[in-house]
Amino acid sequence: MSTGSAHQRSGPASQLVVYAVVAVALLWTLVPLVWMLMGSFKNSADVTAKNPAFFFEPTLANYRGLFGGANDLVPYLWHSVVAAGVSAVLSLVLGTLAGYGLARSAMRGKHHLSFWIISTRMAPIAAVVLPLFLMFRLVGLIDTLPGLILAYMSFNLPFAIWLMSAFFADIPPSLEESAMVAGCSRWQAFWHVVLPLSKAGLVTTGVLCLVFAWNDYAFATVFAGPNSQTLPIAASQLVTQTGIDWGQLSAIGTIVVLPMILAGLAVRRWLVTGLTLGAVTGE
């Protein structure tokens, strides 16, 4: 990233506007998250107090309730980690290979193939779920982690192929050609020259796949069963007939959100180049 120089042109007055905009944006963004975090440490009276409680005596009861009470969250957490993690890795691997093939191949109808790939991600969830459910049932994948992983791949794989192929399209083929002149095979050129250059793309794709799968709710409601429930399902289960336990819900929300925020922030630098490589530096 360059440091940019646009700000040098801004006078003090517009600098004030800038800070005002940033401050409002920060408030708008952070208030809900901070409120959720605070809620997770409130007791049941404070969390639904008629006058929002800004100062309160923090308690760990909500977290304790999630891990020690009738809803033990540990299996949910494990299912989420495995299903989201494995589906992201598989999507990334298959997506990278296919993306590279797609980017470099000179076959006829490539645009159609590429459009078909991304169009699979447009499938209306509630409609495709039934045929997928029956397919999965036939091969015994319902209520299993492999089934959930495969279901997540139905939306992550096209995304990964598409994003990665955009990346590879952006890397000049001349690089591989010179590597091959130096004695590399096509595969070696891909492995030793192209892949290292695509680090940003790989990281971005991987993390976004992870986030999409981790955050999924619609697929998990259908494909997950007693042996494969995930965290978002656990969150929705707190909405019960006798009321919503907002304290526990805040706690579970925090648990769902925190790992993804950490993952996202850890790769923020790559995310910026990753998401924009094709458009910004290309053409």
């Binding site: 049932r137 409601t221 007693p226 019960t240 006798t242």
Partner: protein
């Protein structure tokens, strides 16, 4: 699930809840101790040390060898694991918190999947379609599961008439009759698809303290008795709500309603509809009790129905404006938070009401209208998937039998996880239960007893149509009502439009 068992061991001391096997004949009151000992002897023998129970479920299946066939009817499926899919209701929370006795008694492991009702219906339908039971025991909402999928539920006479299974304690006659028909049967007299498991019923919930303080003043101002009870009319309810709006500073509004665009809105409206003499279908309440495939023409455009809609719209105009965002949870929370002085709501909320505002909330049957009084019944049964096979099928029945038994119904009533009230007449006859009907009550849900007993009388109960395509009709009804409340359509427009939609839904028929 291990942690679940652990939780139950800590939260619900075992000696109090007992082992839940039907008592030997004639020893009803002594079931607790004797069954306890027996289960202890047969089971893992770890009852004395609750902290050891955590791993018991898992180890039990693997370690306990099956007993000789015929030796004990309760243990013939020891080692089997079954899944119970349930709406996340209070009774299931109570059972989930106290499953250990069942495992001790039978050696069967039960995994409970708790879901919000619409998610449950989705899962059940898909499971029935798969031809292979992931869930053997099904929470069979009469309207959303039983009516559309009765063909996917086992006719329980298969077990009831087979004496190799332990008998249903007290027989089917011990269930409250109207509930057995409404929650257990579909379209025919004989087959039983589910046994009544819970029985939420809508009653009038009100702030006793405010009625004590303002009662006389209100009665003077309004010119009629204001004591909530079966003699009040909906017009009087309206007048009371209106008066409280203006005169009671303790609450923001007099009345609140579960008028979100949701199933709850249909429930709330139905009480008024039936009281006014209106109904959904030509077949009337008959279609509610046993249910049928073809209920005839929709009669929401009748004079009585229109009048009911008119009244309901005006009632909502003076109700708490947040009513249109509340389902039953929302209105329950509002009552407990002191936002409103009264509301029609499910009687099972009594326990949480009592916890939030001890001694301040009382209960009465809903007001009557020109035609009658109607209290919406929302009970459900539990049944067995026809896809369940072998030992799982038998084990599922043992669980259904156990979970609806008087002992478990009693322990649900006592549960700290906030269970409902029993579906068994014998439980209501117990002295400790009857004592709890008045304050101070250690079983606060029983404070509603007078109100619900009146509500369950055949002439007072409100039964929505039990037809396979009810879900879609229900959606049409609460959508049109929601538009009416939002002021987008007039009551008569709402009813006319609902009628024509419902007629075409029913005409389209149902493919199960």
């Amino acid at each position: 699930m291990a942690a679940l068992a652990d939780f139950s061991a800590k939260e619900a001391p075992l000696p109090r809840s007992g082992p839940f096997r039907p008592a030997p004949r004639g020893t009803r009151r002594s079931y607790s101790r004797r069954g306890f000992l027996r289960a202890g002897a047969l089971g893992a023998g770890a009852l004395a040390a609750p902290s050891l129970l955590a791993g018991c479920g898992d180890d039990g299946t693997a370690a306990v060898p099956p007993l000789e066939p015929g030796d004990d009817k309760w243990r013939r499926f020891a080692g089997t694991t079954i899944n119970f899919i349930s709406e996340n209701t209070a009774p299931t929370a109570a059972i989930a918190a106290n499953l250990q006795p069942f495992t001790q008694l039978t050696g069967i492991n039960v995994q409970i999947v708790n879901l919000e009702l619409s998610a449950l219906v989705q899962r059940v339908a898909l499971d029935l379609a798969s031809g292979d039971a992931a869930y053997q025991v099904i929470y069979a909402d009469p309207y959303q599961v039983l009516a559309p999928y009765s063909a996917g539920l086992v006719d329980l006479r298969e077990f009831l008439e087979d004496d190799s299974y332990p008998p249903v304690e007290g027989g089917l006659d011990d269930f409250i009759a109207v509930q057995l028909d409404a929650a257990g049967r579909f379209s025919e007299d004989a087959p039983v698809y589910a046994l009544p498991y819970d029985c939420p019923t809508m009653i009038w919930q009100y702030r006793q303290d405010l009625f004590d303080r303002y009662g006389n003043q209100m009665a003077d101002a309004l010119g009629h008795d204001v004591t909530p009870g079966p003699d009040r009319t909906w017009e009087e309810y309206y007048a009371i709500a209106d008066w409280l709006n203006q005169n009671a500073d303790e609450v923001a509004y007099g009345s609140g309603h579960q008028a979100k665009q949701h199933d709850s809105l249909m429930n709330d409206f139905s009480n008024v509809l039936w009281a006014a003499g209106g109904d959904y279908f030509e077949a009337g309440q008959e279609v509610g009790l046993l249910g049928m495939e073809d209920p005839g023409e929709c009669v929401l455009d009748s004079e009585e129905s229109m009048a009911a809609a008119d009244f309901y719209a005006s009632l909502l105009e003076i109700a708490h404006p947040a009513s249109s965002t509340w389902d039953w949870d929302g209105v329950g929370a509002a009552l407990r938070a002191g936002e409103i002085a009264m509301c029609p709501n499910w009687h099972e909320f009594a326990a949480s009401n009592e916890e939030a505002l001890p001694g301040k909330i009382s209960y009465a049957p809903l007001p009557r209208g020109p035609a009658r009084a109607a209290n919406m019944y929302g009970g459900c049964g539990i049944g067995i998937s026809t896809n369940a096979e072998g030992a799982e099928r038998g084990a599922a029945w043992l669980f259904v039998n156990w979970a609806t038994s008087p002992e478990v119904q009693l322990s649900n009533l006592k549960s700290s996880a906030g269970g409902g009230t029993p579906t068994r007449r014998s439980v209501y006859a117990l002295e400790q239960v009857q004592q709890a009907e008045t304050r101070p009550s250690d079983l606060p849900n029983m404070l509603t007893a007078d109100a619900v007993f009146t509500a369950w009388e055949p002439q007072n109960i409100g039964l929505r149509p039990k037809i396979p395509m009810w879900n879609e009709c229900d959606t049409t009804i609460f959508t049109e009502l929601s538009k009416m409340i939002a002021g987008e359509s007039s009551p008569s427009e709402a009813m006319t439009s609902a009628k024509s939609s419902i007629d075409s839904i029913v005409q389209r028929g149902w493919v199960a």
